[in-house]
Symmetry: C2
Subunit: 339 residues, 2 copies
Amino acid sequence: MQKEKAKILLAHGGGGRLSDELIRGTILRILGQQEAGKLYDAAAITLESKEICFTTDSYVVEPLFFKGGDIGKLAVCGTVNDLAVCGAKPIVLSLSFIIETGLEFEVFEKILESIRDAALENNVSIVTGDTKTVEQGKADKIFVNTTGIGIRLVGVELGFDKIKTGDVVIVSGTTGDHGMTIISQREGISFEGELRSDCASVYPLASKLLKETDGIKFMRDPTRGGLAATLNEICMQTGLGIEVRQADIPVKPTVQAAADMLGFDILNIANEGKFVAVVSPQSAEKCLAICRKEPLGKDASIIGQITEKQDAPAVEMITRIGGRRVVQMPYGRELPRIC
Amino acid sequence: MQKEKAKILLAHGGGGRLSDELIRGTILRILGQQEAGKLYDAAAITLESKEICFTTDSYVVEPLFFKGGDIGKLAVCGTVNDLAVCGAKPIVLSLSFIIETGLEFEVFEKILESIRDAALENNVSIVTGDTKTVEQGKADKIFVNTTGIGIRLVGVELGFDKIKTGDVVIVSGTTGDHGMTIISQREGISFEGELRSDCASVYPLASKLLKETDGIKFMRDPTRGGLAATLNEICMQTGLGIEVRQADIPVKPTVQAAADMLGFDILNIANEGKFVAVVSPQSAEKCLAICRKEPLGKDASIIGQITEKQDAPAVEMITRIGGRRVVQMPYGRELPRIC
């Protein structure tokens, strides 16, 4: 006879004895946070600097586990990446769960292990947290919020206002891997060859670029909305144009095949371990060389440049066959619950 | 003919044009955050001090709107309070939404207005945010996460380790108001007289106490699990006992009547605008006087004291009729989705 698996109950979120058991017996045990064992309402921290970056993300990805990662790894890397592309060193995270009653402890523990491993790997501490439970049918298994504080790297100033005509646009690797992995898995379609989320921290590579060159003007990780959303956002915020060359945008053949088959424009598809950097023309080759030396940046590519101010600033793409098309801001329907 | 009300779509969370419209056209417009209009992945902030407190909470309260507040006000005050009771001045908040497709814009806008008003009143800035959407039936209208950074008040050191036998336990006002309001409203029961959530920021009063006296050892806001959970937590963490007098625990008659009728122990019921303070015997009367001068603390009361180390440290209550009973840590089933 199979023993029924232990499940999260509504009372685990009630703030009483069962909450305490969940927090001490499961969450803190797995995260290995002895310090947090004191369970104050807020964590007292002494930062290295007053110059910080602060960012939040709630993760609702479906399915919870996918090739190359899971909601736990994503929740750590995603927030770390938002700090990294703003020129900050990620230091601490908060961690908040909304759990649907009935979630198996086994699943929750796997996610916690993933969070612990990703935090260790990224050298960030999870210093405070919260756990809420809701009735069955009032959430989808588990939602995770991480909010992060990073210390701004000294001398680094990034911003839309630094971007000028002639600047060069670099992407740190292949595009669309995360989104196409999620959607294929969700649709139950398997593709030959490698289809795997790129979920990873970009901090090591981003900080290397920022420390070893002085030409970085702006960085962003092209998550929801993909490369198209990031490039359009740059145009909207700067009033400048962007010209990219389709042939220079790195895409894995399997990812492209999946996108073609399912009818997606690869430029709209989310990434979770890539960044777009706008750099000065003088530093472009050096930036590219630095990227390509690292595993995370081995497929990095110069994909285009910032162009003259136009009446209606837009992203234009020179297609493989030499035509031109405007890359629109995606509408948003492409991929729900991708992160 | 009635026009159908505008609703949140799945595509509003897709990271594209509709997300952008939601963020700029609704969220930032209502919050009045022109600065945030730049929409970086993370907010760059310069803090006044490196000594901070950091706290997170996800809010899943049901119903969204209740007498005395709503999920928006709660999300600001709750996180502000966690900072306040740790001896910090709340400075900035992050704000993250998980929205069920189909939520009416009208409802969302009301919540945003509430968040804006509470933030203004509490002098905290909302500096970064995130919005996710999920399919109908995969969340319950809206969940809100706020994560806060506060600056630690100079010279203030609170902690379980400061608590000693003989210290005095003060509660800043009546107990159980928030929880009994929510549960009564949810059950569709109306009580004569005042039944209204105490949802409020305790920072003004807590900081006054911390600045004007030096006898405060520890503070906590007795939210989920109520007074019983907070007092038991103190015993567990210090290994000391607590003796409280039932007659001195302030409870509004309507709140007590509602608890009696619905079969709840008022000590287990959540508050959202109260704190428990453990103070030195010398400072107790002064603390009480300071509380009672302020509207938020007008019902403050000395409810008991810390007692000798015992074999099994416990909260004991001297009942109204002179008996003694142990106040248990609540199990947690009492009140789901109270905050």
